[in-house]
Amino acid sequence: MGLSEAEKTYVLHGVEENLRVDGRDREEYRPMELETDVVSHAFGSARLRLANTDVLVAVKIEVDAPFPERPYEGKLEFFVDCSFSSMITWVLNKMKPQMASSPMNSHMASKKMLAKERTIKMISMDIGLPSSSANATPNFEGRGGEVLAAEISNCLSSAYCSSLSFDLTKLCILQGKKCWKLYVDILILECGGNLFDAISIAVKVALRNTQVPRVKCIDMDGNNVEISVCHDMFDCQRLNVENAPVMVTVCKIGDKCIVDPDVAEEQCSVGSVVVAVSGNRFSTVLQTGMGSLHPLTLVDCLKMGHKVGQKLDEAVKEVLKESLRGGDVGFIK
């Protein structure tokens, strides 16, 4: 979807006035919907819907040997698959938008209504409206969005790299011989802007939801190591995700910075900075997009990202404290 100059100016003026196209101010997020235990056969899973962005994260655990240089640590691997939605955006890029026709709009309106009905939790940072401009992300072009997938997974691994943000030593079973390897698989189902933030929250929640089997005893026979695992389904350890990073994408539009850009805003931005905030520190800073930023603007971006990141982290923790209700989860609700 290409925006015309007039549309871009409209978005830009909105940002300037601190009243964005969908009525949010510059530091507001769109509504989120968060679910856990969506994938029944994974060790932990979460699904996050941030307006039109839909992400599904599942955690699988395997036994592996630790890296020789880090014998006390387990392993954590991220895999991002965005084929299901990327093709879409690619296709839609080629199509002229026909959003104005009324049946389409009403169709979408009713979908939105359904979405509203089935919202379980809304993160209480804002009361923004879901963005109605839903499609196309230009940076998805290329072979199945592989480049974007690699970028996201690299960013995640570097954000989780520090032992202060995520403690991998808990995943060690037997020093130098055996450890748990966590596969965090991220499936992007729909892309409505701001993938980094959505994914980071979903990953954090999925890791919190993960149940690592408890090891009962370890038998060593020469070099053979046998591990027996507790078979009680409810007896397992949880991971500490207190300091797991939350990413915030700060987009510079005109002279001002915004968070949680939707697709249209992403297209108007000069450059953006992804900051991963863990506790009250940064764990990763990544500048994406083509534009360049003035050092002063960059500092402003970082400050804003830091502030919003901490607020977002608080909000996520607040939501997780409430016991999630049972019943149907997933796509049928």
Binding site: S110, L187, I332
Partner: protein
């Protein structure tokens, strides 16, 4: 007998179903806003998402375009966490290529392709949880997504599996457990209203004499599935329609 039987003496299967019973089917149309049509489908534990884009201009090389009908492009992929052992790649292996082709074959038989010359329709299916009968669930989900996208089809295309238990009794909708236990699996994709079969595939073997009854069983399964899909579509159209207000106008008349 060392091997456990697929059908017990009192006629119950491993998961407690009877021979003619399908697994629980739940589905929903229009789960996403971005694609032109989307659907979610659950058959037992098998969970599939489908999205349809198009009809639109042919993407890539123009030489693929047909002057008299539209190109149907199917992509089948499985989430890496969909199976018990984590998969290395979500697509690109031989099994997914084969399934994409079979899916395309089934859908080409129902879509009125002649209405969209020089165009293309993309169908993407993603398996979230694989527990037997992946192909049938994909076909059924794709049908719903096509309907949600408003693409004209001749009739529903439904798919179902059937097997032969104890070398005698045909049973419908095979689960992963039953697939693994052994026993032949017959997969058919059919047009249930006209009773035509668009795709048939079989693994392992049974005597030719049994083919008829197993096939009929699968066909009956397709017919049952069609009813469920039809009910879901009607419900969806009613919801969408009432949101636009047509339900109200017809009420007043």
């Amino acid at each position: 007998m060392s091997k456990k039987e697929l059908l017990s003496k009192i006629g119950l299967r491993l998961d407690g179903r009877r021979a003619h019973e399908l697994r629980r089917i739940r589905c929903k149309l229009g789960v996403f806003t971005e694609p032109d049509g989307s659907a979610y489908m659950e058959q037992g534990l098998t969970k599939v998402l489908a999205a349809v884009y198009g009809p639109h201009q042919v993407r890539g090389s123009k030489s693929k375009a047909h002057h008299d009908n539209c190109l149907i492009n199917c992509q089948f992929s499985m989430a890496v966490f969909s199976t018990t052992d984590r998969k290395k790649r979500p697509r690109g292996d031989r099994k997914s290529t084969e399934l994409s082709m079979h899916l395309q074959q089934a859908l080409e038989s129902v879509i009125k392709t002649e209405l969209y010359p020089w165009s293309q329709i993309d169908v993407y299916v993603e398996v979230l949880h694989a527990d037997g009968g992946i192909y049938p669930t994909c076909v059924n989900a794709a049908t719903l997504a096509l309907i949600d996208a408003g693409i004209p089809i001749k009739e529903y295309v439904c798919a179902c599996t059937a097997s032969l238990a104890n070398n005698d009794v045909p049973m419908v909708d095979i689960s992963h457990q039953e697939e693994v236990m052994g026993g032949p699996t017959l997969t058919i994709a059919a047009l249930p209203m006209s009773g035509k079969i668009v795709l048939m595939e079989m693994s392992q073997r049974f005597h030719l004499d049994h083919l008829d009854k197993v096939m009929n069983k699968a066909l009956q399964g397709c017919k049952d599935i069609r009813q469920i899909l039809d009910a879901a579509v009607r419900l969806h159209v009613r919801d969408i329609g009432s949101a636009t207000g047509w339900a109200l106008t017809s009420y007043n008349e």
